[in-house]
């Protein structure tokens, strides 16, 4: 069964039922006609796109973004790990590093400032931790998936 994750919701992707009619239209639109229980037919349209494990749909005037869970598989449990915040989620540049290796920091302490799209973003400690090694330099370009630090969690 395929599932997608939309924000904090997980949604099951069901096979089209008998009450749904989809019609592909020119221009990339799909018109959906849904027969309600009372027999009324309602119609809406959407545009969609899938790219790797990303699922994009523009439905009823709203853009929505989801992740196809079957393809993230084991990575999904990793995303629950608070330390995932110490891995780059988008490309950018390291503007400044606010800690040195060997120090222990409390949750919420600013570790690093990134620059992306002319904006500065602060990366904070997701939990109490010890910085074992700094893996990036100031001014360095980073790509999604790059880790900023080697750390270990500090249990209180």
């Amino acid at each position: 069964m395929s599932m997608i994750k939309l924000g904090s919701h997980e949604i099951e992707l069901k096979p089209a039922g008998k009450n749904l009619e989809l019609e592909e239209r020119p221009g990339g639109w799909t018109v959906a006609r849904i027969r309600r229980e009372d027999g009324r037919i309602v119609s809406t349209r959407f545009c969609s796109s899938t790219f790797k494990d990303e699922f994009w749909i523009h439905l009823a005037g709203k853009p929505m973004f989801g992740k196809l869970l079957e393809e993230i598989g084991s990575e999904d449990s990793a995303s629950e790990d608070p330390l995932v915040g110490l891995t780059a989620q988008f490309p950018g540049k390291v503007r400044s590093i606010g800690v040195s290796s060997g120090v222990t920091v409390e949750k919420g302490r600013e570790l690093l400032v990134l620059e992306a799209m002319k904006m500065e973003l602060s990366i904070k400690a997701p939990c109490d931790l010890k910085i074992l090694k700094i893996l990036v330099k100031e001014g360095q370009q980073i790509a999604p998936g790059d880790s900023y630090f080697e750390v270990e969690k500090v249990e209180k």
Partner: protein, 481 residues
């Protein structure tokens, strides 16, 4: 000839905007791009393009422009647009700078000078003082009263600015503003001014002939901002009286005359709840939100700019049409509202723009384009026009709903929320309205939406081959019948 060739020293939507008018005027265009920006839309739309090292490298742009036989350089906004040195060098190299004189940029680029000049011109400014070394700060701000704003003279866009509400925080705020000014602008001049609570941001579009004559093209209201970044601009301004409106226009004209302003410019004011207004700053360039003015006046500001640059002696634009109807512009940013407006680069998988009555799109993007993190996250502007404000907001909602932008997480849902917000609808807002009343913003979808995605999603998921057209497949409903 050179006069028939214009280079836009800028990128993305504003470059495309200038190209449109150039084509209409029979002027050929040169676009510039950096290696990281090869995919940008303006590179496709220019008649000629040339690669540069940086959008900020004025010397290189001027050298290349000369080689290509360019006669005019339009700076757009941002980048080199307010660098007086660039304007000077362009003119020294024998080309025409489409914009104001370098001296006006120097005068207005420094906030302390600009304020002093505005005062001298009879334009109201906020009570303020320049911070001098060794000054007794508490004594000095007695007249101004808290809350205060500590600002860097060369700051802008919220940089080098801090609000002080308590006496005991003043010294520290000034010290920090000094060091921030030093590191960001290389110069430490700092001043303190009165902080207006819940002000509106209203600006006047002006256009001058450079000899002290010129016109205003009415006002724009830009009070809806997020982190000092305008996201929704409109004309006319809402909820201000006729007399305040006229006083604002008159003040703008005073500054136009005293600066002998040349070409297009904007004078920004803060307006408080009682209708008192204060000069904020002058933007010596074409503004991002210029289409709003174009919509309500029918004037092509870029054409006016180029005409003025080509024929500086000729007076023009004396007959500005009275504004009619209402126009709103919203800025589409690659910022994810579901994640605190985090920048969201990526590849645009699908792109469809709305069209129809009263809808204008100034776009810097194409389907398939990769949005890199190297530049400002503004992707495009959506401008709508209607008979009145209420219809304009409905039209904007429609246009946003018909904007299909997949592959990059944009702020469309947030903009749609603004259209539905009762205070936005009634025009009852101020510059910190979004921060104070709408943040943090949560993206939520109705149960019905989720169900729909669930039932369509299965279809999409399995269809690496496209969904079959139902004309060839018997409809399940036919089977029912």
């Amino acid at each position: 000839m050179g006069r028939r060739k214009l280079l836009v020293a800028n990128r993305s939507e504003i470059a495309c905007r200038v190209f449109q008018t150039c084509r209409e005027m029979g002027i050929s265009t040169v676009g510039v791009y950096t290696a990281a920006d090869r995919q940008a839309r303006h590179v496709t739309f220019a008649d000629e393009v040339v690669e540069i090292k940086s959008y900020l490298d004025g010397a290189e742009i001027i050298t290349l422009a000369k080689q290509l036989g360019v006669g005019l350089i339009h700076p757009g906004y941002g980048f080199l647009s307010e660098q007086s040195g660039f304007a000077r060098e362009v003119e020294k190299a024998g080309m025409i700078f489409v914009g104001p004189r370098a001296e006006t940029m120097d005068l207005m680029g420094e906030k302390i000078q600009a304020k002093t000049f505005a005062e001298k011109s009879g334009v109201p400014t906020l009570p303020w003082i320049r911070v001098e070394k060794g000054m007794n700060l508490q004594e000095a701000v007695k007249e101004i009263r808290f809350p205060l704003l500590v600002k860097a003279a060369l700051g802008g866009g919220g940089k080098g600015m801090r609000k002080v509400t308590r006496k005991e925080d003043l010294e520290d705020a000034v010290a920090r503003a000094y060091s921030e000014a030093q590191s960001s602008f290389g110069e430490g001049d700092v001043f303190i001014e009165k902080c207006v609570e819940k002000p509106r941001h209203i600006e006047i579009q002006i256009f001058g002939d450079g000899n002290g004559d010129g016109v205003h093209l009415f006002e724009r209201e830009c009070s809806l901002q997020r982190r000092h970044q305008k996201i929704w601009e409109e004309a006319p301004a809402t909820l201000i009286s006729k007399s305040v409106r006229e006083k604002l226009h008159d003040s703008a004209l005073k500054l136009l005359k005293s600066t002998k302003y040349r070409n297009a410019g904007t004078i920004e004011f803060l307006v408080d709840s009682s209708g008192e207004f204060y000069f904020l700053e002058m933007n010596t360039r074409l503004q991002v939100e210029h289409p709003v003015t174009e919509s309500v006046t029918g004037v092509d500001l870029v054409r006016a700019q180029i005409q003025q640059a080509l024929e500086p002696k000729k007076s023009f634009l004396h007959e500005v049409p009275s504004p009619r109807g209402h126009a709103i512009e919203v800025r589409l940013y690659a910022e994810d509202p579901a994640q605190g407006f985090l920048p969201s680069p990526g590849k645009i998988q699908r792109l469809k723009w709305p069209s129809g009555l009263g809808i204008r799109v100034d776009s810097g993007i194409e389907e398939g384009q990769v949005i890199t993190p190297d530049f400002d996250p503004m992707l495009a502007k959506l401008i709508v026009f209607a008979e009145d404000r209420e219809r304009c907001i409905s039209r904007l909602q429609y246009a946003l709903e018909e904007t299909v932008l997949l592959g990059v997480k944009g702020n469309q849902l947030f903009l749609q929320e603004l259209c539905k917000n009762s205070k936005v609808k009634s025009g009852d807002f101020y510059t910190q309205f979004i921060e104070n009343e709408l943040m943090p913003f949560e993206v939520s979808y109705s149960e019905e939406m989720m169900n729909l995605v669930s039932s369509f999603g299965g279809q999409i998921r399995r269809s690496s081959s496209p969904i079959k057209s139902l004309s060839s497949v018997p409809s399940p409903w036919e089977t029912f019948a």
